[in-house]
């Protein structure tokens, strides 16, 4: 059954090709709920809740920049873009898996304490450095320092550990997506640098 929205999207697509100044905004605003609806079930199976929205943003931006890449003869716009989002997310997940496979462990796997703490990515990363031979006092101090990371820092560290690259994803976590892209990039870099330094200091305590 043909999508009832496709006729409207088709008209907007034609306006976009014709240089209509409002068509990109109208299309982006119209496409978002349609993509959400199409991808909702599948998106729920993706572990990282930021990955699908991030891919939606990327796919819509790419389409607006080069609308001629969409061929209306081959199907509807929402379907085409949903397929692009799925493809981007799958590629990103594959890429993450490949990266993890190729990462050589720097130490033997360490069994984490079964309970008693809320294990997080940064803790696991820290533990993996070289927990053998570290004094209990240093480990305790490091754990205390780790507790000082707030929710935003923890989320960013998870994304860094997962190899997430788009600035926009970090900007969304920091709540600065409304800023111009240059400022976003600057703020994200500053935040990441700060986190790296804090991790380095922690590693130094363990060494």
């Amino acid at each position: 059954m043909p999508d009832p929205h496709e006729a409207e999207l088709g008209q907007l697509h034609e306006r976009l090709l014709g240089g209509d100044p409002v068509a990109p905004a109208e299309l982006a605003e119209r496409l978002l709920p349609l993509l959400r609806s199409r991808l909702a079930g599948w998106a729920a199976t993706v572990d990282d809740p930021h990955m699908v929205p991030s891919a939606m943003g990327l796919v819509i931006a790419n389409y607006l920049t080069d609308p001629a890449r969409f061929d209306p003869e081959r199907g509807g716009l929402a379907g085409y873009l949903a397929m692009e989002v799925r493809g981007d997310v799958r590629n990103e997940l594959d890429s993450r898996r490949r990266r993890r496979r190729h990462e050589s462990p720097v130490a033997e796997p360490v069994e984490l304490e079964p309970h008693g703490r809320d294990s997080t990515v940064e803790e696991e990363a820290l533990d993996a450095v070289d927990p053998i031979g570290v004094s209990p006092a240093a480990v305790q101090a490091a754990r205390q320092a780790l507790g000082e990371f707030d929710q935003v820092d923890r989320r960013m560290l998870e994304m860094m550990a997962d190899g997430v690259r788009p600035t926009s994803a970090y900007a969304a976590v920091l709540g600065i997506s409304h800023l111009p892209v240059d400022l976003q990039r600057k703020a994200v870099k500053q935040h990441k640098d700060r986190l790296q330094k804090r991790l380095e200091r922690l590693r130094a305590r363990l060494s």
């Binding site: 409002v22 905004a25 982006a28 809740p49 929205p53 607006l64 926009s168 997506s177």
Partner: protein
Amino acid sequence: MHDSPDETILAAVAGRLGRDPGFLAAWLAAAPDGGDGLVRRLGLDDRGRASLALCRPPRPDRFAADVTAVARHLGVDAGELAAGLRETAALTGVAAGHAAVGVDERAGLLAAAHDWVDEQVAVAASTTRLRERAAAFWAGAPESARRGGDLEAAVAWSAPLAVVALPNLDARRARGWLAERGARLGDGDSDRPLRGLLLAARGVGIVFLDGTLAPADRRFTVAHELGHFLLDYLEPRERVLREAPLLLEVVDGWRPPTRTERAQALLARVPIGLHAHLLDRDVHGAATPDVETAEDAASQFALEVLAPWSAALDVAREVVGDRRSPHGELLAEVTARLAERFVLPADRASVRAAATLEALGVRRGFFDR
């Protein structure tokens, strides 16, 4: 996906388009204030900001229609959007123009202001040409601005020029206003009182005017600086664009001229980098006499814009009718009518009145001398 609201994703889309000149996102990103002034002016929330950034910049040949369409989409006033876009573009252009090759950043805002003698319109402007230019200016404005003779509203639609009123204008205040919006233009400006100040670069401009001026003086100052912008800056630049497009890089300050280019006559008549013009005022707020005499063409253009010739002639014709009053009496009455009808300063209305009476064949008699 539930934790990524639409405005976050739309902002991310806009962020990705921030380097593509085909979208307003790039305009906003390039502005010294990141577009914050425009967003504030329009009262947009995060979603509105993203929506604005996702629109395409208005096409120069369809500026009014495109701005109206974008304003309707955002639910904002079209005139405010037009003026805000002009202001954003002017800030970007002036900031870039000041940093251009050949402009001494230490020398302050007025580094590029010409000497009094040089400020005259370089090419003698015929009355016909000025009238045509003035008519073309009003033709680009929407009916609402034309009907009410709203000059500042018309400027936003018809010229790539922003108008900013500051109380007790001087160069320092203008520089401070620019700095607050991220456009830092060096230091060292004087605090001598000004009626108006024009800055132009890269095809756009900004007119500062003294916000304490009476309405008639304010209108005349805007029209006068508009004249300088169109006649002294924009037209020569457009001539370069037409006749020697490669020289535009030099005119806009992207690179210095080569020795050969420096010798070209075309380049000699075009302001390079940041173009500035100022209109001094005396203690009473009037323009100083030396400025008046040096700027006939810009002032003539201002009269053509504010009191179009045929309309002014109609007013004079109504007054004169079949009367055989003394010339002085007719002049006073036509002056008063023109001043009231077109909101002109009295001295300017008198100049216009004298010209219309002359055109109607009403000359000063022996006893009027």
